[in-house]
Amino acid sequence: MFSYVLKRFLVALPVLWIIATFTFLLVRVVPGGPFDAEKNLPPQIIANIKAKYHLDKPVHEQYFLYMERLAHGDLGVSYKYVNRTVNDILLDAFPVSLQLGVCGLLLAVAIGVPLGTVAAVNRGRFPDSIAMFLTTVGVSLPGFVVGALLILVFGLYLKILPVALWESSRHMILPSLTLALGPAAYISRLTRASVLEVLEKDWVRTARSKGLSNSATIVKHVLRNALVPVATVLGPLTAILITGSFVVEYIYAVPGMGRFFITAVSNRDYDLIIGTTLIFAVLLIVANAVVDIVYHMLDPRMQTGG
C-alpha cells in the first residue's frame, strides 16, 4: 500500500518536470515579449531590463537557471508585478481560490446528493425526471450566463445578496453557487446511479423487512454505501473547481488564482505562467492520485496501469 503511494508520487515528479519544461519552451515560442509596450522603449532601456531578468542569456542557460531555482521551491519573479515573486503572488491568491472551490464543492454536494437520491428512490416516476432535468439544466448554460442571471435576480432585483466583491461570507454565496451548478449535476447523476445499485442489494431488502420505514432505510443504510463512489470523485472535481474558476472570479471580482491564466499570458509573464500551470498540475495530479489510491484500497484486485 505504501509502496503504491510512493510509486504514484515518484511517477508524478517526471510529469511535473515535463510540464514545466514544456510550458517554459512554449511561452518563449509565442511571439511578443513581456516588455513590448505601446510606447516603445529605447533599445538600451530594454537591454537593461532584460539583463536584470536574465532574458538576454541563451535559452538553455535561462532554463538551467530556472530549474535550479525551481528545485529550491522558488517559482521566480513576475515581470509585470515588479518586485513581487511568483511565490508571493500565488500565496496571496491561492487561499481565496481554495475557499471558493471548497464552498462550491460543498454546495455541489449539498445540491447534488439530495437530488440524486430523490431521483433514484423515485426512479421512473415524475420526481426522477424533474430532478434529472434540473441537473442537466445546470450544465447546459455557459458559466457567465448563469452568473449573469444570478447577479440579476439575487443582486439587482431582489437585492438580498451582494452583487460582487469578496468582503464577507455573504459575498461567497453567489460565486460558489455559480461554480457549483456543473459539479452538482455530475454528482447528482453519480449519486442516483450508485443509490440505485445499492437499492437492489439483498441487505437493503433485509433492512426493509426488519420494519424500518422507507426514509430511515434510505438515510441510514443506502446513502452510507452509495456515497463511497461519490467521495472518490470529489478529488479531481476539487482540483478543477479550485483553478478552473476564472470566469466566476472575473465576473464577481474575486481575488483568486484563475485570472492569472489569462493575464499572465497576455502580459507574457513567463515565470507566473509556469508557476500557475505547475500549481494546477500539482493539484490535479494529487487529486487523480488520491482517486487511484482510493480505488486501489477499495479493490486491490484492480491492477490497471493508471
Binding site: K39, I45, R84, D92, A93
Partner: protein, 595 residues
C-alpha cells in the same frame, strides 16, 4: 485564518471555528476509513456501513452547520450604510508596482498621484502650480532651472523633503540598473541619456544637483520649453535614499513605504483593493476625504452594477460600457471630457502604394470622421490635425478636410483611377472590439468613397506591438496618449529617430521645425512653429491620418463634491469631499442612479 476582512460578526465566529474543527475531524475520519483492508465487498460494505453511518451523521450535522452559517451571515442588517467620508472607486486592475520609477501602468499612476507630490502639481486645466517647489527660476535662456523647495514639505515619517531626495530620485530613474521604462522622460537633462545608456557611469555628471537642502539646480542639454510640465509627473517625484537602501525591493509595501502626498497607503490587498487614508500632516493642508478604497474590478458590467447599487461612488471609462453610457447620457451624474489621446491611421511610407504621398492624402480625405462618435458612442471628437484642441499650436484647419471628390481626383492622379489596380493591402489592428469598429468604418468609407478594398488583419496586443515595431505593414491603426500637456509630446513622435515612429517617415524639415519649437522660449513663436509643423505633417506629407480623440466618461454620485476631470486622465482626489447631508438614509442596495 483571517481571509475575510473585518466583517464576520461576533456571533458567527464560534460557528466558524467549529466548522473548521469539524472539517478536519471529518477528513481524518475519512482517511481512517479508507485504510481498511477488507477484500470481500459485501463485508466491506457492511463494516464500512457502520463507520460511514456515524461519519454521515456527522456530515449531516456539518452540512447543517454550513447552511446555518450561510443563513446567519445573510441575516443581520440587510445592507451596509454608505460609509462616511469614504470614496470608493474602481481602478480596474492590480497596479503592477508602486515604485514610481518602475511603474508604467495607468493604475499605478492612479495610486501614486494621490500618495505623492513632486516639484509642481497639475491644476485641473493642466497648468503647473507650485508644490514641493514654491517657486523656480528659468536661467540661461531655458537651459538652467533653479527650484526653491518649500521647507514645510514633509514626508509621512516627519522628515522634511530635501533637494537631495530629488537628486537621488532622478539619478535612480536614469540608472541603467533600475531598468526604469520612463527613464527617457528626463533625457533633456544634461548627460541623462549618456548615463542611462551606460556611456558614462558616474551619476554625478548628470545635470541635476542639490545646491543645498532647499535648492535644486537642473541643467538641460538644450532649452526645453515644456520641461516644467515634466516635474509634475510621477517619474520625477522624490524618493528616500535611506529607506530604499534599507528595504530594497520591498520598500513599496504598505508598512514600509514613506510618501509625501495628501494620502497615505494604508492597506494593499493584492488583486483586490488598495486603501488610502488621509494624511493629517500634509503640508498643504489635510484633504477632506478620510479614506479612499480603490477596488480592482476587471469586469466593466460588474463594476457598473456596483455603482448602481451604491457600492461605488465614482466610475470612469474602465467601468462604463457603451450601452450603460447610452442609458445614462442625460443623467445629472454623467460628466465627460476630452482626453489628450489621439487615434490615427498610420502608413508605412516605404511600402507601396503608400509611398506615394497622393495616395496618403487621398485616404485621409476620404474618411468622414463624424462617423466615429456615432459608431463608438462615447462622444469621441473627430480630429484631422495631430495636435489636440486646447494645446499650443492647435488649429482646426491643420489637417485635411473630408472631401471625397478631391480624394478620388488625387487617387486618379496617383495612378489608380476609380480604385483600379489598387494593390491588395491589409490594415493591421489589435484585437479589441472598440478598435474593430473603427477600422471597419474606415474600410467601409474607403470602399464607398474611393472604391478601394482593403482587408483587415487583427493581432493579439503584444504581437501587434511587435509587428509595428519590427516591420510595420503598409497601413495600420495606432494611437498615442500624451505624457504631458504640451504639443511636444505629440510632435516628436514622428521625428526621424523616434522609436515610436512606425511610419518610417524621416523628414529633416519636420525634425528641424520640431526641435526649434521645443527650444523656443517665446510662446507665440513656439505656437507658430508647432502649427506649421502640424500642417506639414497632416496636410502635406501625411504619413498619418488622425481620426479622433478619445474621451473620458464618468459617473459621479451626487454626494461626491469637488471631483474635477482633466485631459490627461490623472485622477486626483485631494479636493474631493463627501457631502454628509446627502448621504442620510442612503443604503447600499437602494435604487441607485438619478436621471
Amino acid at each position: 485564518m483571517p481571509i475575510f476582512d473585518d466583517q464576520i460578526s461576533a456571533s458567527t465566529l464560534p460557528l466558524y471555528d467549529h466548522w473548521c474543527h469539524s472539517l478536519t475531524f471529518q477528513v481524518s475520519r475519512l482517511f481512517h476509513l479508507l485504510t481498511l483492508q477488507h477484500r470481500q465487498s459485501d463485508y466491506f460494505v457492511k463494516a464500512e456501513g457502520s463507520l460511514l453511518s456515524s461519519r454521515l451523521a456527522d456530515s449531516k450535522i456539518f452540512i447543517t452547520f454550513l447552511l446555518a452559517l450561510i443563513t446567519l451571515s445573510s441575516c443581520g442588517f440587510k445592507s451596509t450604510l454608505v460609509e462616511p467620508n469614504t470614496l470608493r472607486i474602481n481602478i480596474g486592475a492590480e497596479p503592477p508596482g508602486l515604485d514610481w520609477h518602475v511603474a508604467t501602468d495607468s493604475t499605478s499612476f492612479d495610486v501614486v498621484s494621490n500618495i505623492m507630490v513632486g516639484l509642481t502639481q497639475y491644476r485641473a486645466d493642466l497648468s503647473c502650480a507650485p508644490c514641493c517647489a514654491t517657486n523656480w527660476e528659468v536661467l540661461d535662456s531655458g537651459k538652467r532651472y533653479i527650484f526653491h523647495l518649500d521647507p514645510k514639505a514633509l514626508w509621512s515619517d516627519g522628515q522634511s523633503v530635501k533637494a537631495s531626495d530629488f537628486e537621488y530620485a532622478w539619478r535612480r530613474l536614469l540608472d541603467p540598473k533600475t531598468g526604469a521604462q520612463y527613464a527617457f522622460f528626463l533625457y533633456d537633462v544634461q548627460n541623462a541619456f549618456e548615463f542611462n545608456s551606460g556611456k558614462i557611469t558616474d551619476a554625478r555628471l548628470v545635470g541635476v544637483k542639490a545646491l543645498d537642502e532647499q535648492t535644486l539646480e537642473v541643467k538641460l542639454k538644450k532649452p526645453a520649453a515644456y520641461f516644467i510640465y515634466l516635474t509634475a509627473f510621477c517619474p520625477t517625484f522624490p524618493q528616500r535614499k535611506d529607506l530604499i537602501e534599507k528595504w530594497g525591493d520591498r520598500w513599496t509595501q504598505a508598512d514600509h513605504i514613506v510618501t509625501n502626498g495628501p494620502f497615505l497607503l494604508d492597506q494593499w490587498r493584492h488583486e483586490y483593493k488598495i486603501e488610502l487614508t488621509c494624511n493629517e500632516h500634509y503640508f498643504q493642508g489635510a484633504p477632506a476625504l478620510k479614506r479612499i478604497k480603490m477596488f480592482m474590478i476587471p469586469e466593466q458590467a460588474t463594476a457598473f452594477a456596483l455603482y448602481e447599487n451604491n457600492e461605488l461612488d465614482y466610475v470612469d471609462n474602465r467601468s462604463f460600457s457603451t450601452p450603460d453610457l447610452e442609458r445614462y447620457r442625460h443623467s445629472s451624474e454623467y460628466r465627460t471630457t476630452l482626453l489628450l489621446r489621439n487615434n490615427y491611421i498610420g502608413f508605412n511610407v516605404t511600402k507601396p502604394p503608400f509611398d506615394n504621398v497622393k495616395v496618403r492624402q487621398a485616404v485621409s480625405m476620404a474618411i468622414d470622421r463624424t462617423v466615429f462618435p456615432k459608431i463608438r458612442g462615447r462622444g469621441e471628437i473627430p480630429a484631422t490635425s495631430w495636435i489636440p484642441p486646447g494645446l499650443l499650436g492647435y488649429d482646426a484647419k491643420s489637417g485635411l478636410e473630408y472631401n471625397p471628390e478631391k480624394a478620388r481626383a488625387l487617387l486618379a492622379e496617383a495612378g489608380y483611377p476609380g480604385g483600379n489596380n489598387f494593390p491588395h493591402v491589409e490594415l493591421l489592428y489589435p484585437s479589441r472590439n472598440d478598435v474593430r469598429l473603427v477600422v471597419e468604418a474606415v474600410q467601409d468609407q474607403l470602399k464607398r468613397n474611393l472604391k478601394i478594398h482593403i482587408s483587415l488583419q487583427n493581432q493579439e496586443w503584444k504581437v501587434y506591438l511587435e509587428t509595428l515595431h519590427r516591420d510595420s505593414p503598409p497601413i495600420y491603426r495606432s494611437s498615442w496618449g500624451a505624457d504631458f500637456p504640451d504639443p511636444e509630446t505629440f510632435m516628436n513622435v514622428f521625428t526621424s529617430h523616434n522609436d515610436n515612429n512606425s511610419t518610417r517617415w524621416k523628414d529633416p524639415h519636420y525634425d528641424d521645425l520640431v526641435s526649434r519649437a521645443s527650444a523656443e522660449q517665446n510662446v507665440e513663436k513656439r505656437g507658430q512653429l508647432y502649427e506649421h509643423a502640424d500642417r506639414y505633417l497632416c496636410r502635406e506629407q501625411v504619413p498619418i491620418a488622425p481620426v479622433f480623440l478619445e474621451t473620458q466618461n464618468v459617473m459621479v454620485k451626487p454626494w461626491v463634491k469637488g471631483m474635477e476631470l482633466n485631459k490627461l486622465d490623472i485622477q486626483f482626489f485631494r479636493n474631493v469631499s463627501i457631502d454628509e447631508s446627502l448621504l442620510h438614509g442612503v443604503h447600499a442596495g437602494d435604487k441607485g442612479v438619478t436621471h
